[in-house]
Subunit: 326 residues, 2 copies
Amino acid sequence: MAERAGVGIGTVSRVINNSPAVRPETRAKVQAVMEELGYVPNPHARRIAGGRSYTVSVLLPFVGTEFYLRLLEGIEAELGERRYDLALFPLLSKRRLERFLNSSALAYHTDGLIVASYDLAERFPGGRLPTDRPVVMVDARSRAYDSVFLDNALGGRMAAEHLLGLGGPIFAVQIEEELDRAFASTVFSARIGGFRAALAQAGAPLPERHVFRTRLSAEGGQMALQRFLEIESPPINVFAAADVVALGVMEEAVRRGLAVGRDVRVLGFDGQPWTAARGISTLEQPVEKMGHTAARMLIERLQGHTGGVRHERFEPSLVVRATTSV
Amino acid sequence: MAERAGVGIGTVSRVINNSPAVRPETRAKVQAVMEELGYVPNPHARRIAGGRSYTVSVLLPFVGTEFYLRLLEGIEAELGERRYDLALFPLLSKRRLERFLNSSALAYHTDGLIVASYDLAERFPGGRLPTDRPVVMVDARSRAYDSVFLDNALGGRMAAEHLLGLGGPIFAVQIEEELDRAFASTVFSARIGGFRAALAQAGAPLPERHVFRTRLSAEGGQMALQRFLEIESPPINVFAAADVVALGVMEEAVRRGLAVGRDVRVLGFDGQPWTAARGISTLEQPVEKMGHTAARMLIERLQGHTGGVRHERFEPSLVVRATTSV
DNA sequence: GGGTGTTCTGGAACCGCTTCCCACGTTGTC
DNA sequence: GACAACGTGGGAAGCGGTTCCAGAACACCC
């Protein structure tokens, strides 16, 4: 760029990489010129010269649910701030995974990985991905890598407490798989697990027939409520392990002319943005924050942080809305 | 790499970029050494030296449906063959779009764009994206750019013909929007449009009350069938503008104890892989082929092809299965 | 004021390629 | 046999940065 800032190329580079060894006035002067010229360092040149790529790969099964989109928001925001680029790899197929592993992506385009694909690491021996780059896992416990995760069991316990407070029989919808793709349901199991444990502890264990298993869809919720109403008459309380399912429960209740919040109380999980508009109570996941943290942890590794594997735990927060306020 | 192939660096480069000015024996010799050493040219170096990035950006709203995944398969396969990289940008939010437009991605990482986000271009004056790089659109007509698209209206006509052949009253499920995100339904409109036109032409125009509008979900199909059965008694024929909806229709029929294929005939649209297992008749989109073509068209532009805007049209193919074979 | 450290700064060397110009060996021509 | 013309190949220069080393500038101290 412009050594027309009256400085040497080395100094410019130092400013770009904000090395501390630049006098503040000098830095300011250079930055002013950069600003003026709209100068942006060529990432390829930096990569080749510096040996780093300033790019982080994010592996996930797909991008389509609010969860992943919000996670990405968080990750991107953090990466952007630190001037890192992001490369996205939805891996929903072995073919695509293999292509990724063999592509130059791993070899040249990636300083580190954020993996939000639960079972991915477990396909490899020792739970270690075939790469020597640093890795941060999202929502998947791992002995080998740093991770961020939501305490789903805690969420389940919170749900139990909340519903117990409402009085009346309690039911739960467990999610098993998603149409057409294998879903590692450990997340959902943990939610229901915590839920059951808390109920049992409170002296009101959940009968097996009060649990309905279904796919991750609104229809699943509809079917669940149908079943529950065959067992008990209103008012009843339903814990749906995911918001979409809670939506289905609610819709079915409405269809039957039942008063949601009175006859049928339903509590979701995830904190999807649209639950607000529909008055659905839910356990909100701090997804964006988790994204931020994942990115930050990775960058710390990239900047040389060594030390033991770290796991950052996040807690859901209960948002009470119309569907559970009597 | 190894000038241990006994040639100069220029020759190696010529081999990599398969320039014709290399004698076959020389080329073979170099390639052998490359193979032996497992040599892969550093893309960053190529980018900086060559001024090109050998990377194509794919913009889409999200990645999660079979449609986009298959499209990506096609695009990636073609790009991989031509030794191009792919960068993926799910843009489902203005924030992310802006971030993309301002990132170094456009400036440095992208030789060209494949845009599979229907309405994206229309947000800009003249339907032109704010870039001077070549663009290929998928499933969106554009005056400005090359495109590939499916003839949805034709699909609708094919559906009409097929259902007319079965005899009995005809219904249609129109898709309006998807939960929580604006869906440019022009695709679905075209399908139903063609369907209606063909019926009218055959002297059996579709009554307004035979059309049910709903979201893109299986539940929508269930509700539709419910409504239809209030109007007519079996056997009836249903054209669902999307496979998921057809699935819902089918499930509802089963739930009511009706014989699918006899009492209720339903025809989907899209050709989702799972329709085969469930015996759902559908209009199959050649999605992967469309991806291939889009990538090829773009690369041709990148390699200097000029000339007028081209539009490649694709036709769906009717796959008859149990749901419409009496 | 000179000596001695510290900070800062300039720029050569280099990263791994592409490009371009020049040279070399062949073949074809008169 | 001399000379073009052409098909190939070699390698210097350059792409836009980072790194590192040497030197300049400034403080501080005796």
